[in-house]
């Protein structure tokens, strides 16, 4: 039953990805100002949205770990696994944002990069979570998970700053298309395609998030068994 559910979910995800790609490349119209390069939006924006949501998952996991670590060690380990999975998959999507953005910028603005508020805060967000992952990889000892949880909470504070940056400051990056000032928005023929791609990337993101969570839970069990074996030896 479990395998069937995983298979059905994977199938739906693949169909959504194919449909989203077809819509983005063959159905959506070219932008009147930017032409074909505008189609990068159908990868760039959904990836940013998924990264934000997964950093929120990491935040919830980090808070959960700190809340449960003394009274419910098992729940704390589950929370820690979500924190790691959210941060790692969030970094993957944030990397997509930070590589597709400059490719788009080079054609739209004539420059690869500029130190404006949106781009800089996004890079800082990526650096914080990369340092989080490096710390988890290379630090050892019982305090590692606690330190990681604190850094995970600190890192998540940058997410609303990234989101609000092009509302608070004048940026090279375009003003928000959705939820922006009066007159912002998108033609339905484009918004529809963006929504399909949003659904496809969320489905894909959730798939690899759960896979990463399962791997981390197995790793925790292996580490616990190894520690037990070492004690008994």
């Amino acid at each position: 039953m479990k395998k069937l559910l995983i298979g059905v979910y994977a199938g739906i995800t693949i169909l959504l990805m194919i449909w989203g790609y077809y819509q983005a490349i063959y159905v959506a119209p070219n932008d009147a100002m930017q032409g074909e390069i505008f189609r990068i939006i159908y990868y760039h924006v959904p990836s940013a949205s998924v990264a934000f949501v997964f950093f929120a998952v990491s935040l919830a996991g980090s808070i959960g770990y700190l809340a449960f670590r003394k009274n419910s060690p098992n729940k704390a380990q589950v929370a820690d696994a979500w924190a790691l999975a959210g941060a790692e998959v969030g970094v993957v999507f944030c990397t997509v944002v930070l590589t597709t953005g400059p490719l788009w910028g080079r054609r739209a603005w004539g420059i690869w990069w500029t130190w404006d508020a949106r781009l800089t805060t996004t890079l800082v967000l990526w650096l914080i979570y990369v340092s989080y992952l490096l710390m988890r990889r290379f630090a050892a000892g019982p305090q590692m998970q606690t330190l990681a949880a604190v850094l995970g909470i600190f890192g998540a504070m940058d997410v609303p700053i990234v989101y609000m940056s092009n509302r608070w400051w004048r940026t090279q990056h375009p003003a928000p298309v959705f939820g922006g000032s009066e007159g912002s928005g998108m033609a339905w023929s484009m918004a529809r395609v963006l929504l399909w791609n949003m659904a496809a990337w969320f489905a894909w993101g959730v798939f690899i998030l759960i896979l990463r969570f399962v791997i981390e839970r197995r790793q925790q069990r292996i580490a616990a068994a190894e520690a037990q074996a070492a004690l008994e030896a």
Partner: protein, 43 residues
């Protein structure tokens, strides 16, 4: 097709390639972790 349109197309293809290299590369990394754990458990 103008030179600008050709460049736009090339940049768009590059972006899509980069996206899939990152995503499938990460999936391969997860596959590697999964396999490594299985080997460890079998030992």
């Amino acid at each position: 097709m103008s030179e600008a349109a050709i460049l736009d197309h090339e940049f768009l293809v590059a972006a899509y390639v980069v996206v899939w290299v990152i995503q499938l590369g990460y999936l391969a990394y997860l596959g590697y972790l999964w396999r490594a754990q299985r080997t460890k458990r079998l030992k």
